[in-house]
């Protein structure tokens, strides 16, 4: 490493520091925007440092410059367009696509590094193990994330796609990838590289295909961790600290979120990685209290309960976002607040299609963030709540989770049944992802308001308005 290159490495350290500080500032919504700006500053610094390196090196050909500049401009334009136009409900797809291209770029860096060694007849150095790991992880992330985005977008069925021998094929692909990778370590061989890339791409597809829509928060988090790891590996390959630090940070973040999501869904991480994906979707319905009665109410009755309450907790689930009802909910919440009613939103960790998704959807609908309360903080509040309004949430409110011996036993839930009265807005008595009857609906304190969430919000809002006018 020449003196000049060493000095540029110091600039990269500055960039890495910006990333850490930027993430640190994200510990509060009040400072999060500044955090993002600090992070951007770090990225600009890293970009400039790289350009200095390229210019100082002077070996980039004219064609090389054109290729790099054209690539960067086209990529930026695509990224900018996607980021500007995306709907907030579609954020998980976009994040997944960014995971995909990030992992893909990291894999390409390693693929090129390996190709270069083979091409110039160089010796495989001690970093080859990282090169190979980068190729595998990057390729798996690339194809896996595309499948995940396709599922989220509805291009590929949200139901788990399982076919005979799928598990076996997956195992074969993994063995081929790892076996050939081991060979690559000792002998520089392009065919081996190609086999590893193809097997890894295949493995990525096969890994995500059998996963049901409800497990998407875990999958996205896991792929996020993969991308981070791939980028860190790319950092080892080219000996760049900024990539190593950034990759490690993303890997840590993805890992933490994966664990949180897995815990919130009551599945062990091992169970998920080894291939227990989507099992929750295939479970047959378990008999609930069949003879029990549910009480059905109309908008006017629900409005009376809400309008004369002093504390209301709204429990939104993915059904709310699916019905595009978040703006309606926010409006209803605002009307109740204006009447002096204490309104808060209980957010279960897996509400939505990715970690924290529901918060973004409600923030977009202009709900102030202090009203968005996490599960552990809101649960003690239910006991002194007059009305809990459940919209499009199912399994996460099922008291059966507190008892052993069923599909969701042990899953952390929102203690909705503690509220003085409960209103559930639902289209029908259909089951949640666990295929389990929700005991909450048969609670004597519960009234069912059968309607589409969006329509129900409009009806409720106008009913409350007429009532208090």
């Amino acid at each position: 490493m020449s003196g000049f290159t060493t000095n540029v490495q110091l600039i990269y350290v500055l960039a890495a520091a910006c990333f850490v500080i930027g993430l640190h500032l994200m510990n509060s919504p009040a400072t999060a925007r500044r955090g993002n700006q600090v992070s951007i500053a770090g990225m600009v610094i890293a970009g400039v440092a790289t350009l200095i390196l390229l210019i100082h090196d002077g070996t980039v050909t004219a064609t090389g410059w054109i290729v790099l500049i054209a690539g960067a401009l086209i990529g930026s334009a695509v990224g900018l367009y996607a980021a500007r136009t995306i709907q907030m409900t579609a954020i998980p797809q976009l994040v997944s696509m960014f995971n995909s291209v990030g992992g893909g770029a990291a894999a390409l860096v390693a693929i090129y590094g390996y190709y270069q060694v083979e091409h110039t007849g160089g010796v495989l150095g001690s970093t080859t193990v990282f090169t190979v790991l980068d190729v595998i992880i990057g390729s798996v992330t690339f194809s896996g994330s595309i499948i995940a985005a396709g599922k989220l977008q509805g291009l590929i069925g949200g139901q788990p796609i399982i076919f005979k021998g799928g598990r076996l094929l997956n195992l074969v692909l993994a063995v081929v990838a790892i076996g050939t990778a081991a060979y690559m370590l000792t002998t520089a061989s392009l065919p081996a590289l190609l086999i590893v890339v193809l097997a890894s791409l295949g493995f990525g597809v096969m890994m995500v295909l059998p996963i049901g829509g409800a497990d998407m928060p875990v999958v996205i988090s896991l792929l996020n961790a993969f991308t981070g790891t791939a980028v860190a590996m790319a950092g080892f390959v080219i000996g760049n600290w900024a990539l190593i630090v950034a990759g490690a940070l993303v890997g840590a973040s993805g890992g933490i979120l994966t664990k949180l999501m897995a815990d919130a869904m009551n599945r062990s991480l091992v169970n998920i990685i080894v291939g227990g994906f989507g099992t929750g979707d295939s479970v047959a319905a378990v008999g609930g209290p069949v003879d029990a009665q549910v009480r059905s109410i109309a908008a006017d009755d629900a409005a009376i309960q809400l309008a004369y309450a002093s504390k209301v907790i709204i429990v939104p689930g993915y059904g709310l976002a699916a019905a595009q009802a978040q703006h309606g909910v926010a409006e209803l919440g605002k009307i109740l607040e204006d009447r002096g009613i204490e309104v808060s939103y209980a957010i279960h960790p897996v509400a939505g299609r990715m970690p924290g998704h529901m918060n973004v959807l409600l923030a977009e609908a202009n709900v102030p963030y202090p009203q968005l309360v996490e599960m552990d903080d809101i649960n003690p509040e239910f006991a002194r709540t007059d009305v809990a309004l459940v919209i499009g949430a199912n399994d996460v409110t099922n008291p059966a989770a507190r008892r052993p011996g069923n599909e969701i036993s042990g899953m952390p839930i929102l203690d909705v049944d503690q509220a003085k009265s409960i209103i559930v807005i639902k289209r029908s008595m259909g089951h949640g992802y666990a295929g389990l009857e929700n005991e909450l609906y048969f609670n004597p304190k519960t009234s069912m308001y059968f309607a589409d969430a969006k329509k129900a919000m409009t009806e409720l809002a106008s009913a409350v308005k007429t009532l208090v006018a």
Partner: protein, 132 residues
């Protein structure tokens, strides 16, 4: 194992620990923007993509460099823009509803000032949950 590699590994492990420490403190409310922000951070791979250019002197190199640059640039630019868009929506108080012209300037000024002044305080209070 070379010294450089040991240094790299040390940096990796320490960064991983720092990441766990820092990210563990991010509230669930911000988990989607957090993932999006880390998403843009891994766009740093753009530096790696550009560095391919140093030794890429044949069509294979050019093609790989081009694809890598497109991927990484889309990742970094898109990631930061969408994170910014999301974070902009997180407000402490509901934005004032559109009111008649006379009132508008006064009200929004108060809200804006209040927000600015509270910024530091809210930071100290964590996410400032449960206003009641």
């Amino acid at each position: 194992m070379s010294t450089a590699l040991v240094t790299d590994l040390t940096i990796f492990v320490l960064a991983l620990l720092v990441g766990i420490e820092v990210i563990g403190k991010v509230p669930a409310t911000l988990h989607t923007p957090l993932m999006s922000a880390t998403n843009s951070i891994h766009g740093i791979v753009l530096a790696g993509a550009l560095l391919i250019g140093v030794t890429a002197h044949n069509p294979v190199g050019y093609v790989l460099a081009f694809i890598a640059a497109v991927f990484a640039a889309a990742n970094v630019v898109g990631g930061y823009v969408v994170t910014g868009r999301m974070l902009k929506m997180f407000r402490k108080k509901a934005a004032p509803a559109p009111v008649s012209q006379g009132q508008v300037s006064q009200e929004s000024l108060v809200t804006l000032n209040g927000h600015k002044g509270l910024k530091g305080l809210a930071g100290k209070l964590g996410i400032g949950r449960d206003q009641s």
